[in-house]
Protein backbone atom coordinates (compact mmCIF):
# COMPACT_ATOMS: atom_id res chain seq x y z
CA UNK A 1 0.00 0.00 0.00
CA UNK A 2 1.30 3.43 -0.89
CA UNK A 3 1.92 6.13 1.71
CA UNK A 4 -0.67 8.28 -0.07
CA UNK A 5 -3.35 5.64 0.32
CA UNK A 6 -2.40 5.11 3.97
CA UNK A 7 -2.75 8.87 4.59
CA UNK A 8 -6.07 8.99 2.78
CA UNK A 9 -7.29 5.96 4.80
CA UNK A 10 -6.57 8.02 7.92
CA UNK A 11 -8.67 10.86 6.53
CA UNK A 12 -11.52 8.43 5.77
CA UNK A 13 -11.41 7.13 9.33
CA UNK A 14 -11.57 10.70 10.66
CA UNK A 15 -14.65 11.33 8.51
CA UNK A 16 -16.23 8.06 9.58
CA UNK A 17 -15.73 9.18 13.17
CA UNK A 18 -17.88 12.18 12.25
CA UNK A 19 -20.63 9.90 10.91
CA UNK A 20 -19.80 10.21 7.20
CA UNK A 21 -21.44 7.24 5.43
CA UNK A 22 -19.81 8.06 2.10
CA UNK A 23 -16.37 7.75 3.70
CA UNK A 24 -17.49 4.38 5.05
CA UNK A 25 -18.48 3.23 1.57
CA UNK A 26 -15.11 4.30 0.17
CA UNK A 27 -13.19 2.53 2.93
CA UNK A 28 -15.32 -0.58 2.49
CA UNK A 29 -14.81 -0.56 -1.27
CA UNK A 30 -11.08 -0.24 -0.78
CA UNK A 31 -10.54 -2.99 1.78
CA UNK A 32 -13.47 -5.40 1.90
CA UNK A 33 -12.07 -8.01 -0.50
CA UNK A 34 -8.80 -8.43 1.37
CA UNK A 35 -10.58 -8.45 4.71
CA UNK A 36 -12.99 -11.10 3.37
CA UNK A 37 -10.17 -13.28 2.06
CA UNK A 38 -8.20 -13.04 5.27
CA UNK A 39 -11.30 -13.94 7.27
CA UNK A 40 -12.24 -16.75 4.90
CA UNK A 41 -8.79 -18.32 5.20
CA UNK A 42 -9.27 -18.34 8.96
CA UNK A 43 -12.90 -19.49 9.27
CA UNK A 44 -13.11 -21.51 6.00
CA UNK A 45 -16.77 -20.75 5.52
CA UNK A 46 -18.02 -18.14 3.05
CA UNK A 47 -21.20 -17.31 4.94
CA UNK A 48 -19.32 -16.87 8.17
CA UNK A 49 -16.65 -14.81 6.38
CA UNK A 50 -19.32 -12.52 4.92
CA UNK A 51 -20.91 -12.04 8.32
CA UNK A 52 -17.44 -11.38 9.62
CA UNK A 53 -16.70 -8.46 7.29
CA UNK A 54 -20.01 -6.81 8.17
CA UNK A 55 -19.04 -7.08 11.82
CA UNK A 56 -15.51 -5.81 11.17
CA UNK A 57 -16.65 -2.70 9.30
CA UNK A 58 -19.43 -2.07 11.82
CA UNK A 59 -16.71 -2.06 14.48
CA UNK A 60 -14.78 0.44 12.39
CA UNK A 61 -17.91 2.65 12.24
CA UNK A 62 -18.24 2.49 16.01
CA UNK A 63 -14.57 2.74 16.94
CA UNK A 64 -13.29 5.19 14.31
CA UNK A 65 -13.14 8.00 16.86
CA UNK A 66 -10.72 5.96 18.95
CA UNK A 67 -8.35 5.16 16.08
CA UNK A 68 -5.08 6.89 16.89
CA UNK A 69 -3.26 6.28 13.63
CA UNK A 70 -0.33 4.50 15.24
CA UNK A 71 -0.64 1.73 12.65
CA UNK A 72 -1.93 1.61 9.10
CA UNK A 73 -5.71 1.35 8.76
CA UNK A 74 -5.28 -1.91 6.80
CA UNK A 75 -3.30 -3.36 9.73
CA UNK A 76 -6.03 -2.29 12.13
CA UNK A 77 -8.69 -3.90 9.90
CA UNK A 78 -6.81 -7.21 9.76
CA UNK A 79 -6.32 -7.21 13.53
CA UNK A 80 -10.08 -6.72 14.05
CA UNK A 81 -10.80 -9.41 11.45
CA UNK A 82 -8.53 -11.89 13.18
CA UNK A 83 -10.12 -11.21 16.54
CA UNK A 84 -13.63 -11.62 15.09
CA UNK A 85 -12.65 -14.78 13.19
CA UNK A 86 -11.24 -16.44 16.29
CA UNK A 87 -14.38 -15.50 18.21
CA UNK A 88 -16.53 -16.96 15.41
CA UNK A 89 -14.49 -20.17 15.45
CA UNK A 90 -14.94 -20.46 19.20
CA UNK A 91 -18.67 -20.09 18.75
CA UNK A 92 -18.85 -22.88 16.22
CA UNK A 93 -19.28 -26.09 18.13
CA UNK A 94 -18.32 -28.27 15.23
CA UNK A 95 -14.92 -26.67 14.68
CA UNK A 96 -11.83 -27.24 16.74
CA UNK A 97 -8.79 -25.01 16.57
CA UNK A 98 -6.12 -27.69 16.53
CA UNK A 99 -4.22 -28.68 13.43
CA UNK A 100 -5.92 -32.01 13.06
CA UNK A 101 -9.39 -30.50 12.88
CA UNK A 102 -8.21 -27.78 10.54
CA UNK A 103 -6.83 -30.39 8.21
CA UNK A 104 -10.03 -32.45 8.54
CA UNK A 105 -12.21 -29.66 7.15
CA UNK A 106 -10.19 -29.36 3.97
CA UNK A 107 -12.26 -29.01 0.84
CA UNK A 108 -13.22 -32.20 -0.92
CA UNK A 109 -11.15 -31.69 -4.05
CA UNK A 110 -7.86 -33.44 -4.72
CA UNK A 111 -5.43 -33.88 -1.85
CA UNK A 112 -1.72 -32.99 -2.43
CA UNK A 113 -0.79 -36.52 -3.54
CA UNK A 114 -3.47 -36.53 -6.22
CA UNK A 115 -2.40 -33.10 -7.37
CA UNK A 116 1.17 -34.38 -7.80
CA UNK A 117 -0.14 -37.24 -9.85
CA UNK A 118 -1.47 -34.53 -12.13
CA UNK A 119 2.11 -33.25 -12.33
CA UNK A 120 0.95 -29.88 -11.16
CA UNK A 121 3.45 -28.69 -8.58
CA UNK A 122 1.83 -25.29 -8.27
CA UNK A 123 -1.50 -26.81 -7.43
CA UNK A 124 0.11 -29.14 -4.91
CA UNK A 125 1.80 -26.17 -3.31
CA UNK A 126 -1.56 -24.41 -2.99
CA UNK A 127 -3.08 -27.53 -1.48
CA UNK A 128 -0.27 -27.72 1.05
CA UNK A 129 -0.70 -24.01 1.87
CA UNK A 130 -4.34 -24.77 2.63
CA UNK A 131 -3.35 -27.73 4.79
CA UNK A 132 -1.20 -25.65 7.13
CA UNK A 133 -2.41 -25.08 10.68
CA UNK A 134 -4.48 -21.90 11.24
CA UNK A 135 -1.61 -20.08 12.91
CA UNK A 136 0.81 -21.01 10.14
CA UNK A 137 -1.74 -20.13 7.47
CA UNK A 138 -2.42 -16.69 8.85
CA UNK A 139 1.23 -15.75 9.09
CA UNK A 140 1.95 -16.93 5.54
CA UNK A 141 -1.04 -14.93 4.25
CA UNK A 142 -0.16 -11.82 6.20
CA UNK A 143 3.41 -11.74 4.90
CA UNK A 144 2.96 -12.92 1.32
CA UNK A 145 -0.54 -11.77 0.38
CA UNK A 146 -1.26 -8.84 2.68
CA UNK A 147 2.37 -7.63 2.44
CA UNK A 148 2.70 -6.90 6.13
CA UNK A 149 6.06 -6.14 7.71
CA UNK A 150 7.45 -8.02 10.72
CA UNK A 151 6.23 -5.22 13.00
CA UNK A 152 2.74 -5.16 11.49
CA UNK A 153 2.32 -8.93 11.73
CA UNK A 154 3.43 -8.74 15.36
CA UNK A 155 0.73 -6.14 15.97
CA UNK A 156 -2.03 -8.06 14.17
CA UNK A 157 -1.28 -11.44 15.73
CA UNK A 158 -0.23 -10.04 19.10
CA UNK A 159 3.13 -11.79 19.36
CA UNK A 160 6.74 -10.52 19.62
CA UNK A 161 8.57 -9.69 16.39
CA UNK A 162 11.11 -12.50 16.88
CA UNK A 163 8.25 -14.97 17.24
CA UNK A 164 6.80 -13.68 13.97
CA UNK A 165 10.07 -14.50 12.19
CA UNK A 166 10.52 -17.95 13.72
CA UNK A 167 6.84 -18.82 13.25
CA UNK A 168 7.00 -18.09 9.56
CA UNK A 169 10.23 -20.07 9.27
CA UNK A 170 8.59 -23.11 10.86
CA UNK A 171 5.43 -22.61 8.78
CA UNK A 172 7.63 -22.83 5.70
CA UNK A 173 9.39 -25.88 7.08
CA UNK A 174 6.01 -27.54 7.68
CA UNK A 175 5.02 -26.65 4.13
CA UNK A 176 8.20 -28.30 2.85
CA UNK A 177 7.39 -31.41 4.91
CA UNK A 178 3.87 -31.58 3.44
CA UNK A 179 5.29 -31.23 -0.07
CA UNK A 180 7.90 -33.86 0.61
CA UNK A 181 5.20 -36.22 1.87
CA UNK A 182 3.42 -35.55 -1.40
CA UNK A 183 6.56 -36.48 -3.28
CA UNK A 184 7.73 -33.00 -4.20
CA UNK A 185 11.36 -32.00 -3.57
CA UNK A 186 12.13 -28.32 -4.09
CA UNK A 187 15.75 -28.27 -2.98
CA UNK A 188 14.85 -26.85 0.42
CA UNK A 189 15.19 -28.00 3.11
Amino acid sequence: MSATQAASDDVLIARIAQGDRLAMQVLYGRHHVRVFRFGLRLVRDEQVAEDLISEVFLDVWRQAGKFEGRSAVSTWLLAITRFKALSALRRRKDVELDDEAANAIEDSSDDPEVAVQKKDTSEALRKCLTALSPEHREIVDLVYYHEKSVEEVAEIVGIPENTVKTRLFYARKKLADLLKAAGIERGWP
Binding site: L58, V143, Y144, Y145
Partner: protein, 232 residues
Protein backbone atom coordinates in the same frame (compact mmCIF):
# COMPACT_ATOMS: atom_id res chain seq x y z
CA UNK B 1 26.19 -32.60 1.74
CA UNK B 2 22.67 -33.75 2.70
CA UNK B 3 23.86 -34.37 6.23
CA UNK B 4 25.30 -30.87 6.46
CA UNK B 5 22.04 -29.31 5.23
CA UNK B 6 20.03 -31.41 7.64
CA UNK B 7 22.28 -30.30 10.47
CA UNK B 8 21.85 -26.67 9.41
CA UNK B 9 18.08 -27.00 9.60
CA UNK B 10 18.24 -28.57 13.03
CA UNK B 11 20.04 -25.47 14.21
CA UNK B 12 18.31 -22.19 14.81
CA UNK B 13 17.74 -20.35 11.52
CA UNK B 14 19.84 -17.29 10.93
CA UNK B 15 18.34 -13.80 10.92
CA UNK B 16 18.98 -13.51 7.18
CA UNK B 17 17.21 -16.80 6.53
CA UNK B 18 14.21 -15.72 8.55
CA UNK B 19 13.90 -12.42 6.71
CA UNK B 20 13.88 -13.99 3.23
CA UNK B 21 10.05 -14.09 2.95
CA UNK B 22 9.81 -10.35 3.61
CA UNK B 23 12.52 -9.79 1.02
CA UNK B 24 10.43 -11.71 -1.51
CA UNK B 25 7.38 -9.60 -0.60
CA UNK B 26 9.41 -6.38 -0.87
CA UNK B 27 8.52 -5.19 2.61
CA UNK B 28 12.00 -4.91 4.12
CA UNK B 29 13.75 -1.62 4.70
CA UNK B 30 16.57 -0.69 2.32
CA UNK B 31 19.30 -1.67 4.76
CA UNK B 32 17.99 -5.19 5.38
CA UNK B 33 17.19 -5.67 1.70
CA UNK B 34 20.80 -4.81 0.82
CA UNK B 35 22.13 -7.20 3.47
CA UNK B 36 20.04 -10.01 2.06
CA UNK B 37 20.96 -9.29 -1.55
CA UNK B 38 24.62 -9.52 -0.54
CA UNK B 39 24.06 -12.78 1.35
CA UNK B 40 22.15 -14.27 -1.60
CA UNK B 41 24.98 -13.36 -3.95
CA UNK B 42 27.58 -15.25 -1.91
CA UNK B 43 25.54 -18.23 -0.61
CA UNK B 44 24.08 -20.66 -3.20
CA UNK B 45 22.19 -22.65 -0.52
CA UNK B 46 20.46 -19.48 0.61
CA UNK B 47 19.68 -18.62 -3.02
CA UNK B 48 18.08 -22.05 -3.45
CA UNK B 49 15.94 -21.46 -0.39
CA UNK B 50 14.99 -18.03 -1.73
CA UNK B 51 13.85 -19.58 -5.00
CA UNK B 52 11.54 -21.88 -3.02
CA UNK B 53 10.23 -18.88 -1.10
CA UNK B 54 9.41 -17.04 -4.32
CA UNK B 55 7.34 -20.05 -5.41
CA UNK B 56 5.47 -20.04 -2.10
CA UNK B 57 4.94 -16.30 -2.42
CA UNK B 58 3.48 -16.60 -5.94
CA UNK B 59 1.21 -19.50 -5.00
CA UNK B 60 -0.02 -17.79 -1.82
CA UNK B 61 -1.12 -14.83 -3.93
CA UNK B 62 -2.70 -17.16 -6.48
CA UNK B 63 -4.54 -19.04 -3.73
CA UNK B 64 -5.88 -15.87 -2.10
CA UNK B 65 -6.90 -14.31 -5.40
CA UNK B 66 -8.88 -17.43 -6.22
CA UNK B 67 -11.01 -16.95 -3.11
CA UNK B 68 -13.27 -14.47 -4.85
CA UNK B 69 -15.11 -11.63 -3.18
CA UNK B 70 -18.04 -11.34 -0.80
CA UNK B 71 -21.56 -10.96 -2.15
CA UNK B 72 -23.58 -7.74 -1.94
CA UNK B 73 -25.29 -9.25 1.11
CA UNK B 74 -22.30 -8.25 3.27
CA UNK B 75 -22.46 -4.56 2.39
CA UNK B 76 -26.26 -4.49 2.70
CA UNK B 77 -26.03 -6.06 6.12
CA UNK B 78 -23.35 -3.56 7.12
CA UNK B 79 -25.28 -0.45 6.12
CA UNK B 80 -28.52 -1.80 7.60
CA UNK B 81 -26.62 -2.16 10.87
CA UNK B 82 -25.16 1.35 10.50
CA UNK B 83 -28.69 2.71 9.95
CA UNK B 84 -29.65 1.15 13.24
CA UNK B 85 -26.84 2.90 15.06
CA UNK B 86 -27.61 6.07 17.03
CA UNK B 87 -27.17 9.26 14.99
CA UNK B 88 -23.77 10.80 15.46
CA UNK B 89 -23.28 14.53 15.83
CA UNK B 90 -20.21 15.88 14.10
CA UNK B 91 -17.78 16.54 16.92
CA UNK B 92 -15.69 19.68 17.13
CA UNK B 93 -12.95 17.70 18.83
CA UNK B 94 -11.69 16.09 15.65
CA UNK B 95 -8.12 15.03 16.14
CA UNK B 96 -5.91 17.98 15.20
CA UNK B 97 -3.36 15.79 13.42
CA UNK B 98 -6.12 14.37 11.23
CA UNK B 99 -7.35 17.88 10.44
CA UNK B 100 -3.83 18.81 9.38
CA UNK B 101 -3.50 15.61 7.33
CA UNK B 102 -6.88 16.28 5.71
CA UNK B 103 -5.91 19.84 4.86
CA UNK B 104 -2.63 18.83 3.23
CA UNK B 105 -4.26 15.85 1.50
CA UNK B 106 -6.69 18.30 -0.12
CA UNK B 107 -3.90 20.36 -1.68
CA UNK B 108 -2.51 19.61 -5.11
CA UNK B 109 1.23 18.83 -5.40
CA UNK B 110 1.75 22.18 -7.15
CA UNK B 111 0.01 24.07 -4.34
CA UNK B 112 2.06 22.16 -1.80
CA UNK B 113 5.27 23.08 -3.63
CA UNK B 114 4.32 26.76 -3.67
CA UNK B 115 3.36 26.63 -0.02
CA UNK B 116 6.72 25.10 0.85
CA UNK B 117 8.55 27.84 -1.11
CA UNK B 118 6.54 30.57 0.60
CA UNK B 119 7.21 28.94 3.96
CA UNK B 120 10.95 28.96 3.29
CA UNK B 121 10.79 32.63 2.23
CA UNK B 122 8.82 33.51 5.37
CA UNK B 123 11.49 31.79 7.48
CA UNK B 124 14.24 33.79 5.79
CA UNK B 125 12.36 37.05 6.34
CA UNK B 126 11.72 36.13 9.95
CA UNK B 127 15.43 35.42 10.45
CA UNK B 128 16.26 38.83 8.92
CA UNK B 129 13.78 40.67 11.15
CA UNK B 130 15.04 38.92 14.29
CA UNK B 131 18.62 39.71 13.32
CA UNK B 132 17.78 43.38 12.73
CA UNK B 133 15.95 43.66 16.05
CA UNK B 134 18.85 42.08 17.89
CA UNK B 135 21.33 44.43 16.26
CA UNK B 136 19.15 47.44 17.04
CA UNK B 137 18.64 46.47 20.66
CA UNK B 138 22.32 45.85 21.18
CA UNK B 139 23.01 48.94 23.31
CA UNK B 140 26.13 47.74 25.09
CA UNK B 141 29.03 49.67 23.54
CA UNK B 142 31.33 46.88 22.52
CA UNK B 143 32.36 45.11 19.35
CA UNK B 144 33.77 41.69 18.79
CA UNK B 145 37.50 41.44 18.25
CA UNK B 146 37.14 40.26 14.68
CA UNK B 147 39.20 41.99 12.05
CA UNK B 148 37.52 44.73 10.10
CA UNK B 149 39.21 46.08 6.99
CA UNK B 150 37.33 49.38 7.02
CA UNK B 151 37.93 50.30 10.63
CA UNK B 152 40.96 50.24 12.94
CA UNK B 153 41.34 46.97 14.77
CA UNK B 154 40.46 48.39 18.18
CA UNK B 155 37.79 47.53 20.68
CA UNK B 156 35.48 50.35 21.73
CA UNK B 157 34.67 49.78 25.40
CA UNK B 158 32.66 52.09 27.71
CA UNK B 159 35.34 54.63 28.80
CA UNK B 160 36.64 54.98 25.23
CA UNK B 161 33.25 55.78 23.68
CA UNK B 162 32.60 59.17 22.05
CA UNK B 163 31.59 61.85 24.56
CA UNK B 164 27.94 62.53 25.29
CA UNK B 165 26.16 65.45 26.88
CA UNK B 166 22.70 66.49 28.00
CA UNK B 167 21.86 69.74 26.26
CA UNK B 168 18.95 72.12 26.71
CA UNK B 169 18.42 74.53 23.88
CA UNK B 170 17.18 78.09 24.34
CA UNK B 171 13.39 78.46 23.99
CA UNK B 172 13.78 80.71 20.97
CA UNK B 173 16.23 78.40 19.15
CA UNK B 174 15.17 77.62 15.61
CA UNK B 175 15.44 74.20 14.06
CA UNK B 176 17.84 75.52 11.42
CA UNK B 177 20.12 76.87 14.16
CA UNK B 178 20.09 73.58 16.04
CA UNK B 179 20.84 71.66 12.84
CA UNK B 180 23.75 73.96 12.06
CA UNK B 181 25.12 73.53 15.60
CA UNK B 182 24.91 69.76 15.37
CA UNK B 183 26.79 69.92 12.05
CA UNK B 184 29.52 72.14 13.37
CA UNK B 185 30.10 69.88 16.39
CA UNK B 186 29.68 66.65 14.39
CA UNK B 187 27.00 65.79 16.92
CA UNK B 188 23.91 63.64 16.74
CA UNK B 189 20.86 63.36 18.94
CA UNK B 190 20.89 59.90 20.53
CA UNK B 191 17.93 60.36 22.87
CA UNK B 192 14.75 62.44 22.67
CA UNK B 193 13.72 65.56 24.60
CA UNK B 194 13.10 64.31 28.12
CA UNK B 195 12.33 67.27 30.36
CA UNK B 196 13.46 69.55 27.56
CA UNK B 197 16.93 67.95 27.46
CA UNK B 198 18.51 66.21 24.47
CA UNK B 199 21.25 63.65 24.75
CA UNK B 200 23.89 64.40 22.13
CA UNK B 201 26.88 62.37 21.04
CA UNK B 202 29.93 64.12 19.65
CA UNK B 203 32.01 62.66 16.83
CA UNK B 204 32.88 59.02 16.65
CA UNK B 205 36.01 58.84 18.78
CA UNK B 206 36.78 58.93 22.44
CA UNK B 207 38.17 62.16 23.95
CA UNK B 208 40.38 62.99 26.89
CA UNK B 209 38.83 64.64 29.94
CA UNK B 210 40.21 68.09 29.21
CA UNK B 211 39.02 67.87 25.63
CA UNK B 212 35.53 67.06 26.87
CA UNK B 213 35.67 69.94 29.37
CA UNK B 214 36.75 72.32 26.61
CA UNK B 215 33.96 71.03 24.38
CA UNK B 216 31.35 71.56 27.11
CA UNK B 217 32.64 75.05 27.80
CA UNK B 218 32.47 75.95 24.10
CA UNK B 219 29.00 74.48 23.82
CA UNK B 220 27.79 76.32 26.88
CA UNK B 221 28.82 79.60 25.23
CA UNK B 222 26.62 78.99 22.19
CA UNK B 223 23.70 81.42 22.08
CA UNK B 224 21.08 78.77 21.45
CA UNK B 225 22.34 76.48 24.26
CA UNK B 226 21.06 77.19 27.73
CA UNK B 227 22.63 74.17 29.43
CA UNK B 228 25.24 71.55 28.49
CA UNK B 229 26.36 68.83 30.92
CA UNK B 230 28.78 66.03 30.03
CA UNK B 231 27.37 62.56 30.73
CA UNK B 232 28.94 59.13 30.66
Amino acid sequence: MMAVRKKMLEQEPSEIEMLLPWHAAGTLNARDARRIDEALARDPELAKQYAAIREEYAETIHLNESLGAPSARAVQKLFAAIDGEPARKPSASLNISVRVAEFFASLSPRTLAWSASLGALALLLQAGVIGAVLMKDQTAPFQTASLSTSEPATRALGPEAPPRALVRFAPDARVADITALLDSYQASIVDGAKGGMFRLQFGNRAMAKDEIASLMSKLQNEKIVSLAVATP
